[in-house]
């Protein structure tokens, strides 16, 4: 919708767009998280009453805070240390996967035959669970960092390829022709118009991919890992240390949110129409 420039209405009038005002949106979100914690606490303390089955939020927080700085006795590493190891794996896999995925997506958008060639492979690999590849990756690449990064990257590639191709396809011919008749060369049009116009959608693909990378971290760290949040969760499970499992899960959630916030910030920067 075209809007009136200069001064835009804000606050209550936004209600009519079906969007809650910003402050109220935040209040409701914070309230629902608080409510979730209360339900969790009641379920743990009143209903289950067994910290091995379900530790409450307070007990979990205690364990979480203790092992942030103190190494866990079984593996001699703090949770921060584990988090850094997992973060490095996720970022490496995400970076490798993004580069390959963007390149594949660009070729799909640019070369007609290439898309027909690549499409079936993308459709086949997308629904496969990362866990299924663990044994074969160990056979092929051993138990070092390589198979871990490859496993994460393998999940990222199809998502990035699809969103990049869709982003580049979505740029209208009129917009490209517009650049050409303003004197832009084919190269300049490709770089400064087609790719630039597809950027918001490519970043959306990246946001999906980062989430996906974290979802495969436990599978990744089943590959003979000796550190990392997935490793902590697997270990804690064997020792029935449920509050440590929850601590690992909470850290993964926090890191996932943090990276997503950074990418959202980048998107906000690249796409002015996201701003009011």
């Amino acid at each position: 919708m075209s809007s009136i420039p200069a001064s835009r209405p804000s606050g209550s009038s936004r209600l009519f767009d079906g969007v809650l005002p910003r402050a109220r949106h935040w209040l409701i979100s914070i309230g629902s998280v608080a409510l979730g914690l209360v339900v969790w606490h009641l379920a743990a303390v009143v209903v289950v009453r067994d910290p091995v089955l379900l530790p409450g939020p307070l007990a979990t927080a205690q364990v979480l805070i203790r092992y942030l700085s103190t190494p866990y006795p079984a593996d001699g590493e703090t949770l921060i240390g584990h988090a850094l190891v997992s973060m490095a794996r996720v970022l490496a896999g995400f970076a490798v996967g993004s580069i390959i995925g963007i390149a594949v997506g660009a070729l799909m958008a640019g070369i007609r035959g290439f898309r027909a060639m690549v499409d079936p492979f993308i459709e086949i690999t997308r629904p496969l669970p990362p866990l299924a590849f663990v044994p074969v990756l160990i056979v092929w690449f051993g138990i070092g960092e390589a198979p871990k990064i490859i496993l994460i990257a393998a999940g990222v590639v199809p998502v990035m390829a699809i969103s990049t191709a869709a982003g580049l396809d979505g740029v209208s011919n009129d917009m490209l022709n517009c650049a050409r008749c303003l004197g832009a060369s084919e190269w300049y049009t490709m770089l400064h118009v087609r790719i630039r116009a597809a950027m918001p959608q490519i970043i959306t693909g990246m946001r999906l991919s980062v989430g996906l990378s974290w979802t495969s971290i436990v599978a990744v760290e089943m590959i003979a890992a000796t550190a990392g949040l997935g490793f902590v969760i697997l270990q804690a499970g064997q020792f029935l240390n449920t509050s440590l499992i929850f601590s690992g899960i909470l850290i993964i959630a926090a890191l996932g949110l943090a990276i997503d916030a950074a990418l959202r910030r980048l998107q906000w920067h690249l796409d002015p129409s996201m701003r009011p």
Binding site: A179, C181, G183, P272
Partner: protein, 256 residues
């Protein structure tokens, strides 16, 4: 830059056939057209008659199957900054502010100088967007976006403006304002303008000459000189002369 802004555009026996799967469509059949420097002509025709295709060929976006386009006697085979196209949608670049949109042509051609920003500001002033340079396209109204697109086209001092039903999507009031604005601008700059429309009144009001095109295969079946004086204002629309001219064009169009 030549002394005269407008260029002569010659379209010589242009033909174009589109093949989609097994369907073959003759879009244009040997179209000839000569537009004098600084002339304002309208291509008038039913939708799907190939008038838009003809404009795209003149712009160099698509290659004809036969024939050639000459601008001031020089054959053109690709797009260039000498012929600027304005589309039905303003197609501003949404990630650039209004002033950066206007500067796009200069940046793309590597022609940016310390003077460019002031020049772009003046153009925005000219189209009535002087204080909107820092706004993004989504913050502008429909009419404002069209005027910004016009300023963006004008910074290259194009010798030919190609307009593909640029005001068709606007509401009646904004459209009339844009038509008057365009006439005022053309009166000063004397750029050659080829304007595609399916609106009889718009064609009669704006142009020096109306070329009526027939449906598939597209060809020019009638040419009508519009001998009305300029400047043309709202009062003109109600004169007997204008009404009879409009009727004549409508009859020609019905024959198409």
């Amino acid at each position: 830059m030549n002394g005269e802004v407008g260029a002569r555009v010659e379209v010589r026996s242009i033909s174009k056939i589109f093949r989609r799967s097994r369907q073959v469509t003759q879009a244009l059949a040997s179209v000839d057209l000569c537009v004098e420097p600084g002339e304002f002509i309208c291509l008038l025709g039913p939708s799907g008659c190939g008038k838009s295709t003809l404009l795209h060929i003149v712009a160099g976006f698509i290659a004809p199957d036969a024939g050639e386009v000459r601008v001031d006697g020089i054959a053109k085979t690709g797009p260039g900054a000498d012929r600027c196209m304005l589309f039905q949608a303003p197609t501003l670049f949404p990630w650039l502010t209004t002033i950066d949109n206007v500067l796009f042509g200069l940046r793309a051609r590597g022609a940016i100088t310390s003077e460019s920003r002031r020049q772009a500001g003046e153009l925005l002033e000219l189209v009535g967007l002087g204080s909107f340079g820092g706004h993004y396209p989504h913050q502008l109204s429909g009419g404002m976006r069209h005027r910004a697109a016009l300023a963006r086209a004008l910074i290259n001092r194009p010798r030919v403006l190609l307009m593909d039903e640029p005001f068709a999507a606007l509401d009646a009031i904004t459209r009339e304002a844009m038509q008057n604005f365009l006439l005022g601008l053309w009166g000063r700059e004397r750029t050659t303008i080829i304007f595609v429309t399916h609106d009889v009144e718009e064609a009669a009001l704006l142009s020096d000459r109306v070329c009526v095109m027939s449906g598939r295969p597209g060809r020019i079946i009638a040419t009508e000189e519009i001998a009305l004086g300029r400047p043309r204002d709202e009062v003109l629309r109600d004169t007997a002369e204008f009404v009879s001219l409009r009727r004549k064009l409508r009859e020609r169009l019905a024959d198409a």
